[in-house]
Amino acid sequence: MKKRLLTIALAGAMCLGLAACGSNSSSGSDEKKELTYSGTVLGENTDLKADITVFNHRTDLDSDDYNGTTWKEYLAAFNKDYPNIHVTITTDTNYADDALTHLQSGDYETVMMIPAINKSDLSSYFMPFDTLDNMKKEINYADTWEYDGEVYGVPSTATTQGIVYNKKVFEKAGITDLPKTPEDFIADLQKIKDNTDAIPLYTNYAAGWTMGAWDAYISGNATGDPTYLNQKFVHTKNPFSDPGDDTHAYNVYKILYDAVSKGLTEDDYTTTDWEGCKGMINNGKIGCMVLGSWAYPQMEAAGKNGDDIGYMPFPMTVDGKQYATAGADYSWGINNSVSDEVKQAALIFVKWMTDKSGFSYNEDGLPVSKTDDRTKLSFDGVDFVTDEPALKGEEDYLNEMNSESELNFNNGGNEKVQAIVEHASKGDESFDDIMKEWNQKWSDAQAANGIDVKY
């Protein structure tokens, strides 16, 4: 909670620094037209000599114990192609906050994962990779860090929203086809409970943010509509009512309520252990968990049975089709205040990471590069949906609605999801009543913010 506050304050402070940095960078970028992502060809310029520093959040890749490819191995492979580019990678557990502090200090790494800053501030810290049109030919999710037609970030990988599960447990429970609707899913959880010793669905209630993770499923997964979250949601009247076709937010959270009220979750939700759950799902003590695909490799790496871990689409079908929200993970950005050679080396590094390293594939992500479209997420028959940005002039609407209604979707609103678990467990409030409350809060917030109801 407090960290968000800091982030915001820092972002605010950065705005102040914009004027000074801005002039600096624009005068520089005029003559560097040739420094573009599309103009950088891997395999060329291999004797380029430069030192670059890279800052990111993947501390786990620092460790030799990591089950996948480590930073050391990536760098060794990179230096085979580019022996004279010396790369130093530093990682940080508290990346989101510390990266902002690095930026604010003005002394930051050559390449770093872009933290949560305003898009209008991008050009004060990072160099543009290329125009949006050019980038769209090179990578997916090109508009993630786009501002004024220029792209400032290349996604390191992309994630989607589904369910991480233990294949062996599902098999043992007698589940042959993966569930496609909430009813199927609940029935399958029941099978796990009846036929195995595993906890069918682990809520991770205690960690809090893992509960807020349920919010990620109400957009693409539940509607199939890329404009729903950022354009329609705030204008919708009673978005938490049951549409009657097993879709939309109502039925997303209902899965949680039903699972808890039917005893298909862990015994004592108040003392769940986030770090411990990884090992538990790995060795078959947990059936499944509702977490983004970023969690998939972590569960695989947490024990000897990585092969048992699978990732399946969210059990929701909209008009006969399953959808999954997909979006960029952290994106690489390049420092705009370094020399041209270093920038060139950084461009090479980012492009190499994207096109040649297999990073996104290794980390179980969706493909970013247009030339390397491998992925382990076998979501056959599932359409990926990427949320479109808010309409011009409405960028702040969702934030305002979140704050006013105190529901805080995708914004740390963990308590409301935790409350679902509590009420389901205690049986003191029906799910419909909870949703009615949410609708009321939403309507009140719409009235308070003067947002018109269109849908």
Binding site: L5, A9, T93, N94, D98, T101, D273, E275, G276, G279
Partner: protein, 292 residues
């Protein structure tokens, strides 16, 4: 003879034994019970801190570890949470805050106690009212002030803030000052000493018991403070021990055996200080309570 022995033992028992024995028995039973309750949560933590991952996952939490020499969790926790640096930061913060707050607190108390001037009562009331304000409540707005002063993510900013919120020790000093006879000052003035000198040469040395008490009370709270520290000290270089423990224990935490090791490391300095200065701490606490 038979009867006299009986009488003797009867008398003896009546006068000392039954009550004494029963009371003694109950007393030690109660003490053991509460001692056990006090120490149980800590013991469980110590047990777990010595277990390997596999051991932790397969054994009950109260089962002793296979080896009491398995320090790998401690080493891991120490390096992972960057505790060496954090210790240093905590130490710096504590020393500076204690020195500064003792000096400014006793100076203020000196002035308030020794001089009648317009505003004396007002200042006392200001401090009294401030003691009623729960600090968690005002952090909402303190943050913006800290930010505009450029105090965020700097040890000095946090230190200044910690010095500023001290009200208890000022109370304590005023309390003690009242027991230092004014005649001492007066005779010093006769000898031509300045007030400045009186403060340093007479008052401050005589305040020693109050200073010890204030340092203990404040030292414990500063060393353990995490709410503000977590708000204002975010970069790795400035984290105090409590914050580094928090990043470790926090929602994305770590394995329990590792966290237990971290927890133990964090209170080892407190334990050492406690063992060394037990009696001073007790009397300090007792003295601090008489503030009223």
């Amino acid at each position: 003879m038979d009867s006299t022995v009986k009488v003797k033992s009867y008398k003896y028992k009546k006068h000392y034994n039954p009550e004494q024995v029963v009371f003694g028995f109950i007393k030690y039973l109660v003490l053991c019970l509460f001692g056990f309750i006090a120490v149980l949560p800590i013991i469980s933590c110590i047990i777990t801190a010595f277990k390997t991952n596999a051991e932790y996952q397969t054994t009950n939490v109260m089962t002793p570890p296979k080896s009491w020499l398995n320090f790998s969790n401690f080493i891991d926790a120490f390096t992972k949470a960057n505790m060496g640096r954090a210790f240093l930061n905590s130490l710096i913060v504590m020393i500076v805050v204690l020195v500064v707050s003792v000096i400014i607190g006793s100076q203020l108390a000196f002035v308030l106690n020794r001089f009648k001037f317009p505003g004396n009562g007002l200042i006392r009331n200001l401090f009294f009212f401030a003691s009623l304000l729960p600090s968690v409540a005002t952090q909402v707005t303190v943050y913006s002030i800290m930010s505009s002063l450029g105090f965020i993510n700097h040890l000095y900013g946090y230190i200044v803030m910690m010095c500023g919120t001290d009200v208890i020790s000022i109370y304590l000093f005023i309390q003690y000052m009242e027991n230092i006879p004014v005649s001492l000052d007066e005779s010093a003035i006769m000898d031509g000493a300045s007030y400045w000198k009186i403060y340093w040469k007479i008052i401050l040395p005589l305040l020693k018991p109050a200073i010890v008490t204030s340092c203990i009370l404040k030292g414990v709270s500063v060393y353990n403070e995490y709410y503000c520290a977590n708000l204002y000290l975010q970069t790795p270089d400035v984290k105090t021990l409590a914050v580094s423990l928090y990043t470790f224990v926090g929602p994305k935490g770590s394995q329990y055996n590792l966290i237990c090791a971290g927890v133990i490391i964090s209170f080892i300095p407190a334990l050492i200080v406690f063992i060394l200065f037990q009696n001073q701490i007790y009397s300090g606490i007792a003295a601090g309570a008489v503030k009223g």
